[in-house]
């Protein structure tokens, strides 16, 4: 009998600490949740603003987006987000949040901003696992390489030249790393092609979505 009681008390003590611990975590979560969500929004917005200066759009970029399903033509295995930038109620640019699957060590998450006229407004790397000191030259902190995309479009350079220099294209590779820039160039090119061929569908999808959200708004 005594033994049973002993086990019971030990169990209760353990349970008590579980409750106290969970409460502590719960309270901290409550107090920090809003701040954390803010941080994440701000960090994303900062990245988006690097691609698309804030004077180029006047809508709530973070909340104006559509999702496209996993699509081979875009080289995506998962669905990806496209942010829609509007200025004075006209769509001015789209920002594709895509993954370049063929990095040297895994996926490279990036943002590709395309102006409505088909020129690139900018490209930024969000996260990657490339070799430090070699492949990470695509980060803006390390080199200006990624800025070389700005202003390029599907027709300039020509289709055949949308490659790194080693493959006969116009984009620099890094010393000691060809695979990383090759993956990035390819992913950007795919985005441009996709945008060129499916611009209409993307806009339709966006229209449909806004109409669903605001059923009263007949002007669309």
């Amino acid at each position: 009998m005594n033994n049973k009681k002993y086990i019971l008390v030990s169990g209760l003590i353990l349970g008590l600490f579980a409750i106290v611990g969970t409460t502590l975590v719960g309270i901290t979560h409550q107090t920090t949740a809003e701040k954390i969500a803010d941080n994440e929004r701000l960090a994303l917005l900062r990245k988006l603003n690097q691609i698309l200066p804030s004077n180029k759009y006047d809508n709530d970029l973070l909340h104006t987006s559509i999702n496209i399903d996993a699509d081979n033509r875009l080289g995506q295995k998962k669905s990806s987000t496209v942010y829609i930038a509007k200025r004075q109620n006209k769509i001015s640019a789209m920002i594709f949040s895509v993954i370049a699957p063929k990095g040297y060590s895994g996926e490279i998450k990036m943002l590709v901003g395309i102006n409505i006229d088909g020129t690139l407004s900018g490209v930024r790397i969000v996260s990657h696992k490339e070799t430090p000191g070699l492949g990470d030259a695509m980060e803006t902190e390390k080199s200006d390489w990624v800025l070389s995309f700005s202003g390029k479009s599907l027709h300039s350079p020509k289709e055949k030249k949308w490659k790194v220099k080693r493959d006969g294209g116009v984009f620099d590779q890094f010393t000691g790393a060809t695979i990383t820039p090759r993956a990035v160039v390819q992913a950007v090119h795919l985005c441009l092609i996709y945008f060129d061929r499916h611009k209409k569908e993307l806009l339709e999808q966006y229209d449909k979505q806004t109409k669903q959200l605001l059923p009263d708004n007949k002007t669309g």
Binding site: V9, G21, T22, V25, I36, P132, G133, L134
Partner: protein
């Protein structure tokens, strides 16, 4: 507790029984994040805070918890504390949090913390336990910062890069550039560089210890011989 006992605790934490150099605990985060000084400092301070809080709590409840359930209770305490710190860092040190990433929650699995709870805090009063947590954490942080400094200088040619992640916008120009246009030394940045650097630090500590011991025995024999001469 007497003063020399506190001295002993401090010495153990910082040198004689250093978590990283002597106990060799918590090596996974230690080797993974020490690419730069600031990363090392960030993880070191988070670990130190965890050690202080968990040691304090464990010491307070040491009479309440029975031996059979003590380990799960300690783990619960450590896990809750670390999760709370992780959330707080995510809220107030967001940039640093994104750099340190998975290694903040992994502080839970740093055996050094459970080892201190079990070996020290569960047997000692509150104040010594807090001091033990502080000193053990400080010892760990110092190793992280030293290793981070070695790897940052060799690997990037800079020191205190990215200080603003921790100290805010004011610290943007704290970076010391040792070598302009340094092309980088890849080995120092990659994990093998961490192992080599860590090995060298441990070796250095052992050399210093040996040297000190020799000195002590030397002075001892000197005293003996001088007394003999006097006789």
């Amino acid at each position: 507790m007497k003063d020399d006992n506190y001295n002993e605790i401090s010495k153990n934490g910082l040198w004689n029984n250093n978590v990283a150099l002597v106990q060799l605990l918590g090596l996974c985060p230690l080797l993974a994040v020490t690419g730069t000084v600031i990363n090392g400092l960030g993880l070191g301070l988070a670990t130190m805070l965890t050690l202080i809080i968990s040691n304090a709590v464990v010491s307070l409840i040491r009479h309440l918890v029975r031996p059979e359930v003590r380990v799960p209770v300690f783990v619960l305490i450590i896990a809750s504390v670390v999760t709370a710190i992780e959330l707080a860092m995510n809220a107030w040190l967001y940039e640093l949090y994104t750099v340190l990433g998975i290694f903040i929650p992994l502080i839970v699995t740093n055996c050094g913390i459970l080892a201190r709870a079990e070996a020290f805090a569960s047997k000692n009063r509150l104040l010594p336990s807090i001091l033990d947590g502080l000193m053990m954490g400080l010892g760990f942080t110092l190793v992280l910062v030293t290793l981070g400094a070695i790897r940052e200088i060799l690997g990037y040619g800079t020191l205190f890069n990215n200080s603003h992640l921790m100290f805010g916008e004011l610290a943007h120009n704290w970076t010391w550039v040792f070598i302009e246009d340094y092309s980088g030394f890849l080995l120092a940045i990659l994990p093998p560089g961490a192992f080599i650097g860590m090995g060298l630090i441990i070796a250095l500590k052992n050399v210093i210890d040996k040297h000190n011991k020799k000195k002590q025995t030397n002075t001892a024999t000197q005293i003996v011989s001088s007394t003999e001469a006097a006789v």
